[in-house]
């Protein structure tokens, strides 16, 4: 397959992901609102927001890094897409996953986070710095159980290639990691709550305290990029979990159903629990999920 086709299909996949992400965001917000006895947004509101942001002509900037922040951020999100095989068995939708394995996905994620933090930093707003410090703090502990779960998986399947991990889960629901390695799955799912950074783990943007945290200074198309990226991230991270634990997807509809359900878990928890303070969430991740992660490791020893 020549490079051009690959790029075009990657862009197609990306397009689907963005739109599905926006829709999913809308649905989840609607759900959340209903639980809180509110009406909530219209389902197409995210598109309206994006269009508004991208077309805003009145924009200011604080410096080069401020401008590069969203670039890095989007690079992080799109980068994951690049290296993620989306549809199992589809050469077209495996993107550029031949260039790197699971490890590169785990690490390129941070690229966006770092970019965001840097850009927000140059914005010079105190809330940004506070939000970043909280966000980063939480991420460190979230990743620990997740990493342990991944190690358990890598050992279980004796590979770090996502493609192979998905392949190993084919042939029936009982082959999913969810059932073959429930402990690791549980550890990963719990850390997933932190990865999505929804309530109760969203102190980094604590709306009542430091309005939206890191992106406080961002507006217009900068914010548009960030929003786009958020949509991508929601889906692609759900895809990651899907690939790792829920048998992957052999077609787009399955992908959409599975990602929705995975994402729903985090929304569900967010609706039920109040927000954690940062030291609480940090310690929480180092208790239950970490314990599960360690058990997962001990099981494979």
């Amino acid at each position: 397959m020549d490079l051009l086709t690959r790029i075009l299909f990657t862009i197609l996949g990306l397009f689907i992901i963005v739109n599905w992400g926006l829709l999913m965001t809308a649905i989840m917000r609607k759900l959340t609102a209903r639980v809180g006895r509110r009406v909530g947004i219209r389902w197409y509101q995210p598109w309206i927001n994006l269009v508004k942001l991208y077309s805003n002509r009145n924009s200011i900037q604080h410096g080069v890094m401020f401008q590069l922040g969203p670039v890095f951020r989007l690079l992080g999100g799109v980068g994951i897409v690049m290296f993620m095989p989306l549809i199992y068995g589809s050469e077209l939708f495996s993107n550029f996953s031949f260039a790197g394995d699971l490890v590169i996905i785990l690490y390129i994620k941070f690229f966006g986070m770092l970019g965001m933090a840097l850009g927000a930093g140059e914005g010079g707003h105190p809330y940004s710095a506070i939000g970043v410090s909280r966000g980063l703090s939480q991420v460190t502990t979230v990743e620990l159980p997740f990493t342990l779960a991944i190690i358990a998986l890598a050992v279980q399947y004796n590979t770090l290639s996502l493609e192979e991990i998905v392949a190993a889960q084919q042939g029936g629901i009982m082959n999913w990691t969810l059932f073959t390695n429930p402990v690791a799955t549980l550890a990963a799912l719990l850390s997933m709550l932190g990865i999505f950074m929804h309530s109760p783990f969203n102190l980094h943007k604590a709306p009542n305290e430091i309005p939206i945290g890191p992106p406080t200074e961002y507006h217009s198309s900068y914010l548009g990029i960030l929003r786009t990226n958020a949509a991508i991230l929601h889906v692609i991270e759900a895809i990651l979990f899907m690939n790792l634990f829920f048998g992957g997807a052999t077609s787009w509809p399955i992908l959409i159903v599975k990602t929705f359900l995975i994402y729903f878990v985090s929304i569900f928890v967010g609706v039920v629990f109040p927000r954690f303070r940062i030291e609480q969430s940090v310690s929480w991740f180092l208790r239950v999920p970490l314990a599960l992660g360690i058990v997962a490791i001990i099981l494979i020893l």
């Binding site: 670039v71 790197g100 010079g124 410090s133 406080t216 990029i225």
Partner: protein, 1046 residues
């Protein structure tokens, strides 16, 4: 050839003659006295040369021509020649030094001075027991007389106590002699040795009394209060004579008499020496009075020599060399120190800060201290090495341990003292006079130490072709120290480049591992020397120290034998110590660094000893041939290296040392020096081999240690406010990764280790260079006092940005290679939990890295920094060169990883990383193509950037405080820039892990030792009568121990 008897005859005759000059003024007698001493030195020196180098035969002098045992005879043999030359030499120099004192006291004092040396010469040469007693009394009485050069109450009481104790001791000696005569019917020492007196019931007591008296003359701990009081109370010039002359002669007497007793007694003597060596050095720790401290040190060193003499039967042919090496170092260094004490006339250790006013005295002081502890290139280094090797070869590991432990204790107070004199904050530094006749002896001692060190090299097993060429160059730079810094910098760079040219091609041909490290050491050295151009003035002492460190590093790579390796290691330690302590508030940190270095080096030495003992080899291959106690050897050596790599528990020296060092020193010590420990560990690991059963537990432990080090250090780095401290902790963490990776002991693990090693070298150098440059501009280390500097220092920002991206391991930069290899290696090895810990630490690294770049460059610019300039280009240039390196690694990891693979392949042929034709690396678990990742990421980056630029082409740049701020306008950057205690919540949750428990432990240990020292030294009540009781009690107790009852 002048007959040895003329030493005695001329001394005595002139002494009597001087009596005629009592009324004629002091100048002429002074001159005569010095000439006589010179003559005595000449005669003994002549014998020394003849016997040592020209194969002369020993000369016996018989009184009145009768043969012993019927007459007294004097022997001038090799040892006698050495000792008398030393004694007379110290007499000559000491006489010159004390000349003004002696003149002030009159001709009588000169007579006493001269007779002291007559006495000592006969004591050394005589082979007759009673004659020895007589002239020992001459020396003792002369010392008591010379105490009066100082007329204070203190010196009077000190002299009297000394007199009381020596009178008792000589009484005991006399009783011993008469008993010996009763049993042996002879006083001729050779007869007595043959007589095997210890077999006779009473003869044993006789021998005991004599030996114990000689031992007591050496002032053994704890029956030595009188000796210490003398050192403290008397004129330092006399201290030099007692320590350099009298003690030297007495050690020889012990050596001469000890064969009278059998083997068990020799162990007893060694035990007494050990007690003295340890006890005395322990008490020195609490001592604050310079001369008394020198006394403790003297006594300690003599204790060491007692050990050597006592264990002589195990040292074989090496005995003479070892004893001479130790003796001559102690002799020169201690006399030099006493003379220095007399020149600056300060009693408090802290007051020695005045030495700073005269740099060349400071250099001499440092020389003496290093010589005492046993650093290269001084004779004591080679002697101590050989001592440990021989003791180990004889399986006397406990003795080796005692020697090393005592030396460490000695290092504790000596280096503290050196630190005071270099760096202690001192309000006023009074100047002092420097009469030439006082400087000359000190200078000669110092220079002699270096020269003798050069000649002492062959003492040590495996000295081989130890190259002194780099040292010669350093001496040259030292002599040119008066030149401006820039000139010396050019010179140093040229030297480094030439050195690289000399060693690197050879290493490239033969040894990939060493070549890799030579890149770090030499190229890194050149790059980190460049910032030196940013400094003005002379930077006295900087270049010799830096070059010394680099020379040590370079010689680590060229070392072929254990000794050469250790030599290089210690050179590097000295150089880096001086570099580190140059920092503004570095006194404490330099001190801690030195203590850990010395302790680590001694552990290493012990390990080398085992290796030498069991393999019988002196080359580095010995490490792989350890047949017995392999676990011990490896563990000791590993701990030794880990003090350099600052593994958890041994890391407490690093943060301060690296943080407080000068701006261009930090990258040297952090990016480059730490790799020396890594190199050492690698050598050890290679020789241990992954598969040997004994080493597996060790590697397992090391893996965990590395992981925990990484975790704790990174976590601690998160909470630092000081930028350089943050980087320092980060280094500890990174070294933890490296330790972990190498301890995996697989092909991929080592690849990860190498990747980390070379990357850490590059990005830590970049970060320290830039941060150092900023510190130079801003005059502060505190990050919360910075902020918004991206506006003023864009190039620095870019460098730091690339540095932190590489460090954090984000793709596409080179750090990711390390992470990827880690995953593969860790999982392949089955080190899941440890691996988890390491990855957790990696993520924590984001926190401090963000903190670094945010607090310094982002956020709000401080008012006082609005006009600050970009950092000096001399800091930026090397940083950007290194960025090129990182970029090359990132763009094509193959270029680096393949050679690493070639280095590793011989040791781990299995499960190698394979390379596909398109450059994809394939491990057992995963795959990764760095070039493609780089291309994809760069393409995305360009595309998104272009898109954003298109969208935001009209974006308007706004002023600093123009931010959304709840309708208010923030005005002061201090309140708007969030930086101080940035991770407060994290601290609440995890800060508990970073509580300085280890530091607390070490502090507790040091306090406990100090307190112990303080309690023990209270036995020195100052009461002369008690001291006499100590002496008698000592006799009784030692008797009880030796014979097991009355």
């Amino acid at each position: 050839m002048v007959e040895p008897i003329y030493i005695v005859a001329s001394g005595l005759g002139i002494a009597f003659l001087l009596g005629l000059f009592r009324k004629t003024g002091e100048s002429l007698p002074g001159l005569i006295m010095l000439l006589t001493l010179a003559f005595m030195t000449f005669v003994s020196g002549q014998w020394l040369i003849s016997l040592m180098f020209e194969g002369g035969t020993p000369q016996y002098t018989y009184t009145a021509g009768f043969k012993p045992p019927f007459s007294i005879n004097l022997l001038m043999g090799q040892s006698e020649a050495v000792i008398t030359t030393m004694v007379n030499g110290v007499g000559l120099l000491g006489g010159l030094y004390l000349l003004d004192r002696l003149k002030a006291q009159g001709v009588n004092s000169m007579i006493v001075f001269l007779l002291l040396f007559v006495g000592l010469n006969v004591v050394v040469m005589t082979r007759d027991l009673f004659n020895l007693f007589v002239f020992l009394e001459v020396s003792s009485v002369a010392i008591v007389g010379l105490v009066l050069l100082e007329r204070s109450t203190q010196s009077l009481s000190a002299g009297f106590k000394y007199l009381l104790a020596t009178a008792l001791i000589s009484g005991i000696l006399l009783i011993g002699i008469i008993l010996i005569y009763q049993y042996a019917g002879s006083l001729y020492i050779d007869d007595l040795v043959r007589a095997n007196l210890t077999a006779v019931k009473g003869g044993m007591v006789a021998v005991f009394l004599i030996l114990i008296a000689v031992a007591l003359e050496l002032k053994p701990f704890p029956a030595n209060g009188w000796g210490l009081d003398l050192y403290q109370g008397a004129h330092p010039g006399l201290g030099a004579l007692v320590s350099g002359g009298f003690a030297t002669a007495m050690v020889f007497v012990l050596y001469k008499l000890l064969p009278m007793a059998g083997g068990g007694w020799q162990y007893m003597m060694a035990t007494l020496g050990a007690v003295t060596f340890i006890g005395s050095n322990l008490l020195g720790i609490k001592q604050g009075h310079a001369k008394r401290l020198l006394g403790y040190s003297s006594v300690g060193q003599i204790g060491l020599l007692m050990i050597v003499v006592g264990l002589s039967q195990h040292l074989g042919e090496a005995l003479t060399a070892i004893a001479c090496g130790l003796l001559v170092s102690h002799f020169l260094a201690k006399s030099g120190l006493f003379w220095l004490a007399g020149i600056i006339q300060k009693d408090g250790l802290r007051d020695w800060a005045v030495l700073r006013k005269k740099p060349f005295l400071l250099v001499l002081f440092g020389t003496f201290i290093f010589a005492l502890v046993g650093f290269p290139p001084f004779p004591s280094f080679f002697a101590k090495w050989e001592l440990i090797m021989q003791l180990s070869a004889a399986e006397g590991f406990a003795w080796a341990g005692i020697v090393l432990f005592g030396s460490l204790l000695e290092g504790i107070y000596l280096f503290r003292w050196l630190g005071y004199s270099i760096k202690l904050d001192h309000q006023e530094l009074p100047s002092f006079r420097l009469p030439w006749q006082k400087i000359l002896p000190v200078g000669i001692s110092g220079v002699a130490l270096y020269i003798l060190g050069y000649f002492a090299t062959p003492i040590a097993s495996g000295a081989g072709s130890l190259s002194y060429l780099p040292l010669a160059f350093i001496v040259l730079v030292f002599l040119l120290d008066f030149l401006p810094a820039r000139v010396k910098n050019v010179l140093s760079l040229a030297g480094m480049a030439f050195y690289g040219y000399m060693i690197m091609p050879g290493l490239y041909e033969n040894d990939g591992l060493r070549f890799l490290f030579s890149i770090i050491f030499v190229i890194g050295g050149i790059l980190t020397l460049l910032p030196g151009f940013a400094y003005t003035g002379k930077r006295r002492g900087f270049y010799p120290a830096a070059l010394l460190m680099f020379a040590g590093l370079g010689q680590l790579l060229t070392a072929e034998t254990l000794l050469q390796f250790f030599f290089a290691w210690e050179l590097m330690t000295v150089g880096s110590y001086i570099l580190i302590i140059r920092g503004k508030r570095s006194m404490r940190h330099g001190y801690t660094y030195m203590l850990f270095s010395v302790g680590g080096a001694f552990l290493m030495l012990a390990g080398f000893g085992i290796a030498y003992a069991t393999s019988g080899m002196t080359s580095l291959e010995a490490l792989g041939q350890v047949t017995q106690w392999a676990g011990w050897a490896s563990a000791l050596i590993a701990i030794g290296f880990m003090t350099k790599t600052a593994t958890l528990g041994l890391h407490i020296w690093l943060p301060g040392a690296h943080a407080e060092a000068e701006s261009d020193v930090s990258p040297m010590v952090s990016a480059i020096l730490l790799k020396a420990g890594v190199f050492g560990l690698l050598l050890l690991f290679i020789s241990m081999g992954a598969e040997s059963a004994g080493s597996k537990p060790l590697f397992y432990v090391l893996g965990w240690l590395g992981a925990i080090t990484a975790l704790i250090a990174n976590l601690t780095a998160v909470f630092q406010e000081d930028a350089k401290r943050l980087l320092a902790y980060s280094s500890i963490g990174q070294l933890g990764y490296i330790l972990f990776a190498f301890a995996i002991m697989t092909h991929v693990g080592w690849l990860a280790g190498f990747t980390y090693t070379i990357n850490h070298f590059m990005y830590k150098a970049i970060l320290f260079l830039v941060v150092g440059g900023i510190v130079m501009r801003l005059k502060t280390h505190n990050m919360y006092e910075m902020g918004g500097l991206i506006k003023r220092m864009p190039y620095s920002f870019i460098a730091v940005l690339i540095g932190i991206i590489a460090l954090s391991g984000l793709p596409p930069l080179s750090g990711f290679a390390g992470k990827w290899l880690f995953y593969n290696a860790g999982i392949e090895k089955g080190w899941y939990l440890q691996g988890g810990v390491v990855f957790f630490s990696g993520i924590i690294a984001f926190l401090y890295l963000y903190r670094l770049i945010h607090s310094v460059f982002l956020g709000q610019l401080k008012d006082r920094h609005r006009t600050v300039k970009e950092i000096s280009p001399w800091f930026l240039v090397p940083a950007y060169v290194l960025i090129l390196g990182i970029m090359a690694f990132s763009a094509n990891p193959e270029w680096f990883l393949k050679p690493f693979g070639q280095i590793t392949a011989p040791y781990f042929p299995d499960s190698q990383l394979t390379w596909q034709s398109d450059g994809t690396a394939v491990g057992q678990l995963g795959y990764w193509n760095g070039t493609q990742v780089m291309a994809i990421v760069m393409a995305l980056f360009v595309a998104i950037t272009l898109w954003l630029i298109m969208l935001n082409r009209n974006a308007k740049k706004v002023k600093q405080f123009n931010i959304v701020y709840a309708a208010e306008s923030p005005e002061t950057p201090e309140t708007t820039h969030i930086s101080y205690n940035l991770y407060a919540g994290y601290n609440k949750a995890l800060g508990v892990l970073t509580r300085p428990g280890i530091t607390g432990l070490w502090n507790w240990i040091s306090e406990a030792v100090t307190e112990l020292a303080d309690q023990v030294r209270r036995i020195y009540s100052g009461n002369g009568q008690t001291y006499v009781l100590h002496v008698l009690t000592y006799v009784v107790i030692v008797y009880l121990i030796t014979t097991g009852g009355l």
